[in-house]
Symmetry: C2
């Protein structure tokens, strides 16, 4: 008999009341007495359980005894409107089948209220908790919203390579990729590792960004976006850093920095709106358990246009605040990179709306950003969000071959690594812009979770690559 999804049944869409239905899933709880048992069953399609009403007399007692928290079962029975509070429909069981037990003495998710730290240690089982079921469903929805947004705009998904011979940012610590036997390394005549013997016949790393390749594609296909894993080998053990994380990087020919801001604002609002429209059961659960202001905060960012200010204005606001007694951990002066505390002050306390900061000092930004005529600033733009700080970073790109080449030299980006990137400015160059969204940053914002390790299924951090 065909399995009904619990999400459909609870919405009244899976089958008409009175029908015999079959559900399959994992037991969340079982309670009751000799006259009646109630099994709360979850199949992962929704955070909500369906209640299976069991008359113990109708079933084998050993079977019923095996149906404990975590066990996997099939239940078949009549779908009826529920008398109980807080549930719409329930199933009066006529058949029960046990697929897999979960021995109460061994199953680690026996009782409620495990710490997030403990659940990270059993990341192979945590998808079965309400919390991580909710997070992973939202993660799916946010990924789907990204693809849908860009598809509907006529953008093309473009897959930049993960294994690379060059380092986009000219900075960023990278993971090396090799097939050499580290216990038996080939050496060249100078006694150094002989990379001509390596798989790619040269030294290669995992990419820190697909942007440069996305620019090549934009200068041919018009609008493109990447969305995939990127890597940073920074030894940062913080709730905001992962060694392996997902980035979405749109890149658009003919967009200037204003078009870029318009696109980024529309994009992030589309994602948040999608979450509100499609994930509210999960969001409400997370809000209740982790972040009471979550739902309000989601609505808050949609309410008004983002405020657009220059870096110079931002510094003036921060300096004024310091003058009025505000204490920051990090110093504030023109030329400094904004710290998270600065970003959050601007958004949460000063402007009280998400902001887009533009025209940063060129010294603190990458070589590829378009230079302003003042000789000091570049057309970068960062979107700052409450609680999160920077959620999107982007820029109009330098489209002029000579300026780009010179800035790359000044910032010690080897020309041999980016000759192909420079060539796009030589042949049919045009104004273009793009930005990057840290996918897990978006998820922190939308789920209300506090630690980035809790919004990706298997976090990779220093000294941790389990599962």
């Amino acid at each position: 008999m065909k399995r009904s999804m619990i999400v459909e049944l609870l919405k009244g869409q899976g089958a008409p009341v009175g029908d015999i239905v079959t559900v399959k899933g994992w037991v969340r709880t079982k309670r009751g007495n000799k006259v009646v048992s109630f099994i709360a069953l979850n199949d992962g399609s929704t955070i909500n359980n369906i209640q299976i009403v069991v008359n113990p007399e109708d079933f084998d007692q050993d079977l019923l005894a095996s149906i404990t928290t975590g066990a996997c079962i099939r239940a078949t029975g009549k779908l009826v409107e529920s008398q109980g509070k807080g549930q719409s429909y329930e199933i009066q069981a006529t058949e029960l089948e046990l697929y897999g037990i979960a021995d109460p003495k061994e199953y680690p998710l026996q009782k409620k209220g495990h710490s997030l730290e403990f659940l990270r240690e059993i990341a192979h089982l945590r998808p079965r908790t309400n919390t991580f079921g909710a997070v992973y469903r939202i993660r799916h929805h946010m990924a789907y919203a990204i693809h849908r947004f860009f598809h509907e705009k006529g953008f093309f998904y473009f897959n930049a390579p993960l294994i690379t011979g060059s380092d986009c940012e000219g900075a960023g610590q990278m993971f090396q990729v090799t097939t050499l036997d580290l216990n038996n390394l080939p050496k060249n005549s100078e006694g150094k590792v002989d990379y001509t013997k390596d798989f790619f016949a040269k030294q290669t790393s995992l990419t820190v960004s697909g942007q440069l390749e996305a620019e090549l594609a934009a200068l041919a296909l018009g609008g493109v976006y990447t969305f995939g894993p990127t890597f940073r080998a920074e030894n940062s053990n913080t709730p905001r850093h992962l060694a392996e994380f997902w980035m979405c990087e749109p890149e658009v020919a003919f967009n200037d920095i204003h078009d870029n801001m318009d696109l980024a604002e529309e994009f992030i609002k589309y994602c948040v709106q999608w979450a509100i429209d499609n994930c509210m059961d999960d969001i409400k659960f997370l809000s209740e358990h982790f972040d009471k202001e979550l739902v309000d905060r989601l609505h808050w960012v949609l309410e008004k246009p983002f405020r657009r200010i220059t870096y110079t204005e931002a510094i003036e606001v921060l300096e004024e605040a310091v003058k009025n007694g505000k204490k920051f951990e990090f110093p504030v002066y023109w030329g400094v990179d904004l710290a998270s505390e600065h970003e959050r002050f601007l958004v949460e306390q000063h402007y009280k709306v998400p902001i887009i900061v533009t025209d940063y000092p060129k010294e603190i930004k990458s070589f590829y950003m378009k230079q302003n005529e003042d000789g000091k600033t570049v057309r970068g733009m960062d979107i700052l969000f409450p609680k999160i700080g920077e959620i999107i970073g982007g820029s109009e790109r330098e489209a002029d071959y000579d300026k780009l080449k010179q800035r790359a030299q000044e910032m010690h980006v080897p020309e041999k690594d980016i000759w192909w990137y420079l060539e796009t400015r030589k042949f049919g160059t045009c104004p273009h812009s793009g930005f990057g969204l840290g996918f897990e940053r978006l998820l922190l914002f939308v789920t209300g979770m506090a630690n980035i390790r809790d919004v990706i299924p298997f976090p990779r951090t220093p000294k941790n690559a389990e599962f």
Copy 2:
């Protein structure tokens, strides 16, 4: 003035005839005489160019001289119905703006008819050719079709980690990931590399499959799918192998092998149908230039249900063929892994329909496949396509803890690497199934391209990690 997309204008959807429109793009060709010039402009939104009609008297002669193949321009003018053959609308230019030249003496895409081999060497520019524009647009559409298919079925996109401490298949050569300085390696007391000093405090590699992690998720969320890059460090320099390629791996709780075949057939047909419905201009171009039978072949796989046969039946058919004089390069006998020539014979010459082969000898399949009661075969299933051979491989998974553990031991998969995988069979196990689609294999099929290096933007192969 807002840019119109050429794909919209040519469909008659961008603006009404008579309107002043602006397009931006790259010059494919310019021809004409003193009285009139025709610029064929492409903006990447479609393989079709829009014709810009220019009266040379209205423009600066130096500007016109700079508008050569590959140059990037803006053209503004009146949208009119075209008198010319093969085009619906054209633009009578009133303004032209040059964004970037492409010096005819230097621009490598000056003339038509470059070899695919040459274009691989300029992979940074090949998106600007008709061929690769078409391939990358189709690549986008196939990725979008994948997300859409699974989303509409209530599946969740699940991101397996790329950096891993374990090797899913118990085989497969892997790339090592490290932050150790290879010219100054830390050694332990035995004189071996001291991996406790590495970033993850142990030896790590790039994943060859996200399947095991996807199974964990399926046993909690119901239906999930991965879609992302995977890696094989095999020294295979063939038109069918890449070191970095994309895989889509759905995994579904409660599905047996028959449900799995149904899902896989529906899925691949959905993708092919999507290509027919959304990419026909690009497909027709590729068909014309590379594979005359492409369009027919796409329709052909949709026409009939796939034929489902067992491995044993397949071997019987092949042995019968050999008896009747058919010559194969590789031998045919029960127990052998089918070679591409065998697969293609079965599909193209014998059954004349895509086939699904099931119940393979356990010795040639992975440890995680569900064992049949005959003690000899496992519930694997491969979908074989014309021209491509295997396009999908999957199985029902072994759900029994003891059987799985024993088979892992027999196949020398270390328990320390898969303890977490085994545990899912201990706690709430259930029948489940899944499969993997090699994304570039699908693209070879849908584009008609012959070399896998030509369906991924920046191919990684032995001795090659450029761009």
